[in-house]
Subunit: 210 residues, 2 copies
């Protein structure tokens, strides 16, 4: 796909899900799949699937279906899972530690190289062989290592200052677990928000309306 081709956000948002399902098929040794079969597994209609995948150049062949390996690899390229972007994580509290140890960053295009926290007592602890460093060392670390992505697991009230500094240090993308509205203040960086408490309230609403 040409860079900057305009594809609707709703299609893009489904790509990780396609990627996951195709990864499972691949692991199970399945070589090809029709849009109809993919439809049954994923809960989208077959025509939706054909439309979605056509946006990226149509990897399917009439009467054969999709080559699982090829489609997996193409969607992976579109998502950028082989980019290996240097990434740092800020805030090694419960959530930060869990994200650092639980997530397969390297399989999603990221290379976690540094973890920072303002709590000096944490300094030196290892998560996946990466030492937690005191936040005061962030500046020099970024100057030396040029990370391009930051994962924010800090409280919102300390976010603004750190985000401004990180952007000045060359961070281009944020995986944001705090509630500070980065995108509103910095339209030029890529932001993906994970608002866990919003998600929990959505669950509450859904149960209310069962």
């Amino acid at each position: 796909m040409a860079k900057n081709t305009v594809v609707s956000t709703s299609v893009i948002k489904r790509l990780p899900r396609y990627y996951r399902f195709l990864g499972e098929l691949k692991q199970n040794g399945i070589v090809r799949i029709s849009s109809g079969e993919l439809s049954k597994k994923m809960g989208f209609t077959a025509s939706q699937i054909r439309q979605d995948l056509n946006c990226f150049g149509g990897f399917g062949q009439q009467g054969y279906g999709y080559n699982v390996e090829q489609l997996y690899s193409e969607i992976g390229k579109i998502l950028g899972v082989n980019n290996n972007r240097k990434t740092i994580l800020i805030g090694a509290g419960n959530l930060g530690k869990a994200i650092a140890s639980h997530m397969s960053f390297e399989q999603r295009g990221f290379n976690l190289i540094g973890i920072f926290d303002k709590n000096e007592a944490l300094a030196g602890q290892l998560i996946k062989n990466i030492p937690i460093r005191h936040i005061d060392g962030m500046y020099n670390f970024c100057k030396d290592n040029s990370p391009s992505v930051a994962v924010l697991c800090i409280p919102s009230d300390s976010a603004k200052e750190i985000i401004d500094e990180l952007i000045a240090l060359g961070i281009k993308g944020f995986w944001n677990f705090c509630h500070y509205a980065i995108a509103a203040n910095h339209p030029d960086v890529a932001v993906e928000n994970v608002h866990l408490s919003d998600s929990l309230m959505m669950l509450s609403y859904r149960i209310n309306n069962l």
Copy 2:
């Protein structure tokens, strides 16, 4: 709002965000706010905000704006944050531990009463004064305590069996951190999925397309 009033999903999805912003205003002692001011803070247009809030009966008054306390409380009711639903968490690995200790369940309408894991070595450890129990005790615990919500922090491959059992035990809502497609198999329960690896891939895509 009458139960089951049909409001579009996109409006509903913005409610937790309104609720958060209004909570901050309330904490800062702000008594009323116009749709214009709310618009500046939240990044939605003022007309969008008026439309959204009109769906729930229009709490604003011409020339006065919205009463922050009242709007906060009304949206809270719609979201069900005072419901105090009995909740259990399954899977006390890194992620489960972080979710149990990090999230303010009680402020979102949930009362975390039990934590379960298949790893016997974890049994007896406390998270927020709640002991981790072995998964074999889940059946009796549910029979005795009747939780209605489960948080799933388990691998997908062990999910199906546990979900089937939980639904048989009366669980009506799932906060699902694993990739098992609950909704496709159980259309009658409420499900809110948190797919962290999908979110991370979306970030990768966004950085790619800066």
